[in-house]
Amino acid sequence: MERTTDSLTKMVSDDSGPEAIRKLVEHAAHLLPSQGPIEVFVHHNTLHAFEDLPFHEAVKLGLARYGAQPYLLEQEYRQLFRKGRITDEDLRAVLKEDLGQQDQERINGLGTRGQIRLAMLRHPVHVGPDAELKWIVAETDALERFHSEVPQDLRDRVVVGAKEWLRSRQATERSTSADLDGLLVKFGRKYEEWGENAWEAFSLHLLWRICRTGIQSTPPRIASVRYVRPRDLLLKAFGDDIDQDVHDLLIRFCAAYVDQGYSDWELPTRDKGFYEAFLTLYTQSNWCADRWTRGLSQELRRLQASGVTPEASIEESIRDLGVPDDDREEFVTQTLLGLRGWAGMIWQLESGAGPVVHSIPSGSLLGLVAIQLILERFAIVDVGFDKTGRRSGAGDVLQFAQRKLSEQRPLNIERRAFLLFQAAQTLGWQPQQLLALTNDQWKELDAEAEAFSALERRRIYHEAFERKYRREALDAFISHTQSFDEISARQKPHRPDFQVLTCIDDREESFRRHLEETHPACETFGAAGFFAVAIYYRGAADSFYQPLCPNVITPRHYVQEDVGYTFEGMHLERAELRRRLGLASHAFHMRSRTFLGGIFTGIIGSLATAPLVASVLFPHLTARIRKHLGSLVQPPPVTTLQLERYQEEPGPENGHVGFSCEEMASVVIRLLQDIGVTKPDAFSRLFVVCGHGSSSLNNPHESAYCCGACAGKRGGPNARAFAKMANDWRVRTLVKQAGVSIPDDTVFVGAYHNTCDDSVVFFDLDSLPPSHHDDFEAAREAIEEARRRNAHERCRRFDSAPLTISPQEAVRHVEARAQDISQARPEYNHATNALCVVGRRDWSRGLFLDRRSFLTSYDPAQDDDRHSILARILAAAIPVCAGINLEYYFSRVDHAVYGSGSKLPHNIVSLLGVMEGTASDLRTGLYQQMVEIHEPLRILFVIESTPEALLSIMQDNPTIGRLCRGDWIHLAVIQPTDSTVQVFRNGQFEPYEFNGAAPRTASFSRDCYRGCRDNLPFFSITATEERQ
């Protein structure tokens, strides 16, 4: 699949010499997947390497480079078309915009370009591999009957045309061509007796022959394929894949090389680097190795003895394989991409991404390339031996293969003719029209059809699909803001009963919506889930500090959880108990794999039946037992955060842990400004700050389910820390000086929402003043109800939960998912995400967004002229949301190449990632079960701001500029006061024309989704409007 493509950047000027080789490798390394250790899973744009290009060019480059699908398959889009998820109107509009001036160009009097393309989109065009095409003609009645979707009038038109042709031919008695005469012979001359069916078949055969004859006159474009990588050449020539053997060996070695401590024996001399370690190990005598590695140890000994560096070895290999100078870069790139998962991981570790236990020396990737090329040379020689019976050099084998490369004669004519034949049917072209075409006109027609290739069709389908959703979303916002204006005109805002701040995560959208429905007198906000508290955190039961903040930030502060001093003794005892149990259990698992320990554990192993059977058959019970037992060894429940620092410098040691008052104040100001709650009357008596995370069993990708703004960890401690800071009266004084005054009767409470089992826990309730107990009870009641409803809404997506489930059962169901070791889909995570709303909640409140939208709070009225608040919000929100959205997009359109395939055979390797089975490339991206319900749409940002503000932010922030201008995301700004929207297209904002369609209304969310598992349209919900 990987063919020569234009390189992204200029060729490296000087192509030989060690420096140049190193540059080649480092340059190619940027194309490798950039996923680090799986435990800190960070969503990012899978095609980050191509982010400089516009989206559509980048996905095409992805196809050329990685052989990955750029869009959904054509069948999938067609299915969406049939279901009405893409309409005729969308296709027309997108085509028109895409073609611009060329839309109306007429092609040989057969129709305009726009018409021809639309016909090709509306009706399925079968163009497949030769064998498939052959099957279609042979096994279906493609030449006997019109395609089922061709309307009757066009059918009649074609048949009438065929009759006319026959009549005129009879009249003149002139033979047109041998081919068409042959047709008459085939059908017989008694056409007076033909029935309707015979005429239909005759017309189609006639069309087919005309198309074929016409196409014959135009020369086919010869797409010559040049194989830069020897492996591709050999695979094509002989069907032997040398990667099989080479990778088998390399994977084993790579896994041992990067192992973070799973295996008992460490790879000898691994700290000397990949190349050295391999040489050391494989210069050992090869007494019974596979045939293809014969002579490997001698060769390696030669390299070792004469001190050949990896660079020199690569140079040697390149010369030995006879790679032309021009192809060097391409050759190295393709070689690296051959085993891209492992190469990517080595590159990540080597360049120091993420904390790891065992780091590896730099130059490892270079070593990998050198070794891979040496092994490939041996494998090539072996293939040569297999084919010719004698050993010759790798270069000779490749030349031999080149000669053997059979000249393929594809069904070029038939394939092109079949495309036109189908277009002729769907556009009702008549035989005479086609017969009248000159050779040049045929050529033009052929070029026309070729230009609208399958790839182009999918691009148009995709744009149309996105357009439909985008328009629905924007229409919904416009009409919703209109009604919002009416309501806010009628009502005077009262002080809300309580306020809840959650993460911007799309999974919190429904939680907030249900909260607002349950208790209309509350207010909700969204902000990045670390709540401006960037910390290294250590829980009471943890031994290490972990970062809790977005990956791009390196925290300066450390926070730890302390057990209440009264319980210190118990805490120490339990810590010791945990340590002993931990050591014992580790020893048990390690020993069970050894010789003698295995005998012991094997014999008492029958006892394992109890946990085995229990955890599979009774997950809920097992979880409860585990919890009860766990409570005996876990730290005592009463803990506090050590949040205040006494020493000058922040650090992990005692006294250096925590923040100073000024630092706390700046955190509080920052967050409150972001969400636009700064005036005293904006605060309610109770302000709940709710972090989120997810817990599931048997899930190596668990980190991908947690809070992205907390580096794939759980965001509870951040919420707890923020609440504690904001409650501190010293902090409040400082905050007041900065112009944000928090009323004295406002109390902050930290909470944590588990998005998998939908539980919510609150922190530090002991310090809640009695005056606020009633407020808290009201809030807790509303949150309890909201989480039940939220679980209920989530259950509609799970096939294993009946649609008739009650909210109480729904909670049980989602809890069981989190506790079940056999569950491959604990939750659906960010699947179906498609929107991001930035602005005041007031105008999006009461809109059913179907858990597809990120919600960020922002109040433009409180921003300064330089839009600094919006700029800092977007600086995080756009890359993060786009990263999540694009990773889902790519993993969904090609879960085998961009994603990590099915979860079922996953196997954790080196404590760093997963393989499929025991010897596959390291798999990156999201797995199939996680994205199966996702609809790949680029995310649409709807921002409450002005075009000028956004343009200036794009100017200042290159990342945002790149994403917006390259169409990696869609962007629209909205003015809720007058309900106008402007969308960003082709580098500028254009006014958006409202369709006039208001979303349907429903009284509760439940009425919107009842009995339905698919994605839903937008709804206006009336329950949230009864705001007092």
Partner: protein
């Protein structure tokens, strides 16, 4: 006595429940009815519960009545008196088969329940459970087999379903290739088994274990054949067991077999399938008394396998491989125990090991989380830089590491000494034949050589 008919009825349930399951899952597929996931998993659970209950009842009845040997006859299914051949279907409940069949039901049931959630919405759900039913039937038949041909029958079903489940993800090339490899190695084991069965028929006039081992209940039987014949038959059966249990030199297939979904890997290579070879040795253990040489061979093979497994296990850096070699180590040790005549120890060891390993394999995706949890409990990095790591490694250590990393060169050994000569021989025959036929026909003799794909035009095909 009322006991006989009760036992017989229970026995029929034990054997019948997997048969019913296979039919219930297979027939609808054949006639194009698509059962829902729920129906399939209910059928599976029902079958396991029925079989398990009946097996436990039999155990109870046997304990109460003190009977140690309950044969259940299904008569001759094929009989060629001239050739002294008859396919005799007979099942035996004794101290070996009852625990093993209960183990099979428990593990199959648990892993089946696991899989019915784990494979939810997977395209191959039906295929998986069909093969799964086939496997379960194979295990039950092998466990209860009272004649060598019955055992062979079950043995084949297990082999077939294993190979097909290894190739479960047939859209990727690697699983299919590995499935084929497993299948080929099973063929070697099967050939040895078949020859052993035929030899046995010749020696004793029937494949009945009673005839072979004397009439004493397991394990007290006394082999009824002489030492040389015992050695011959025993070695063949040892070869069969080695192939099936992945012992040296056939160990190469075990890591390859981990390509299937996690639950099938767990039940096959952690638990049941891998122990089937050992079970065979247990079943024929009275043979060992008849020949000291055979006993030595068993002990040596077991020991070599155990040492190899323990060594290879040390360097595996992925979870499933490490567990696979850990299993192999224990299989080797169990073989040694059988060789030493410790049948009961071997049986207990086998059951315990199967349960433990299944549990470990099913929880394999939790390894990362477990590591973090333990590290937090212990307070230091479990895998941290090992203090006092020797900087210089001796060449023996290097060699041992290489040996373990290359999995004992066993695959290469089989490739070089068995596969390559085999291919070479048959390719030579092919070229000889071609030369001969070309000579006879005075030109190119094989028309298929000249056929190019897509010669005819599309319309002609129509």
């Amino acid at each position: 006595m009322m006991v006989e008919p009760i036992l017989h009825a229970l026995g029929v349930v034990v054997v019948g429940s997997p048969v019913v399951l296979l039919t219930a899952l297979g027939l609808p597929l054949l006639i194009g009815i698509r059962l829902s996931e729920t129906v399939q998993s209910r059928l599976m659970k029902g079958s396991v519960v029925a079989g398990l209950t009946a097996a436990v009842c039999i155990l109870g009845v046997m304990l109460v009545t003190g009977s140690r040997h309950v044969p259940i006859e299904f008569g001759n299914w094929a009989s060629i008196p001239q050739e002294h051949f008859h396919f005799h279907l007979k099942f035996v409940f004794d101290r070996l088969s009852v625990p093993f069949v209960i183990l099979s039901f428990v593990l199959c049931g648990t892993v089946g329940a696991f899989a019915s959630v784990y494979l939810h919405r997977d395209r191959g759900f039906r295929r998986f459970f069909l093969l799964y039913a086939l496997f379960q039937l194979g295990m039950v038949v092998s466990a209860l087999a009272g004649t060598i041909e019955t055992l062979f029958f079950g043995w084949e079903l297990v082999g077939l379903s294993s190979a097909l489940l290894v190739a479960y993800f047939h859209e990727r090339p690697a699983p299919v290739r590995n499935g084929l490899r497993v299948w080929s190695i099973y063929r070697i084991a099967d050939a040895a088994f078949l020859i052993a069965a035929l030899t046995l028929h010749h020696l004793t006039g029937g494949g009945d274990f009673d005839g072979l081992m004397g009439s004493g209940p397991w394990p007290d039987g006394v082999a009824a054949i002489d030492s040389t014949s015992a050695l011959l038959v025993g070695l063949l059966l040892l070869l069969a067991a080695a192939g099936k249990s992945g012992m040296v030199p056939f160990s190469g297939w075990i890591p390859r077999a981990m390509e299937g979904p996690t639950p099938s890997s767990a039940v096959f290579y952690g638990a049941l399938s891998v122990h089937l070879g050992v079970f065979l040795l247990l079943r024929v253990s009275p043979l060992l008394d008849a020949s000291v040489l055979l006993r030595v061979a068993v002990v040596v093979l077991g020991l070599v396998t155990a040492i190899f497994g323990a060594t290879a296990c040390r360097v595996q850096s992925d979870v499933k491989n490490a567990l696979a070699y850990a299993s192999l180590t224990q299989v080797g040790i169990i073989t040694v125990e059988i060789g030493l005549g410790l049948q009961y120890v071997a049986l207990i060891h086998m059951i315990g090991h199967a349960c433990l390993r299944t549990f470990q394999l099913l929880r394999a995706p939790s390894v990362l989380k477990d590591y973090r949890m333990l590290e937090n409990a212990v307070g230091s990095s479990l895998s941290g830089d090992k203090a006092g790591r020797s900087q210089s490694t001796s060449s023996l250590q290097l060699w041992l590491y290489r040996f373990a990393l290359e999995r004992g060169f066993l695959d290469a050994f089989l490739n070089v000494w068995i596969v390559d000569p085999f291919l070479f021989a048959f390719r030579s025959f092919d070229s000889l034949e071609r030369r001969w036929t070309s000579l006879l026909s005075g030109g190119e003799s094989r028309e298929s050589d000249r056929l190019a794909p897509y010669e005819d035009s599309l319309e002609d095909v129509a």
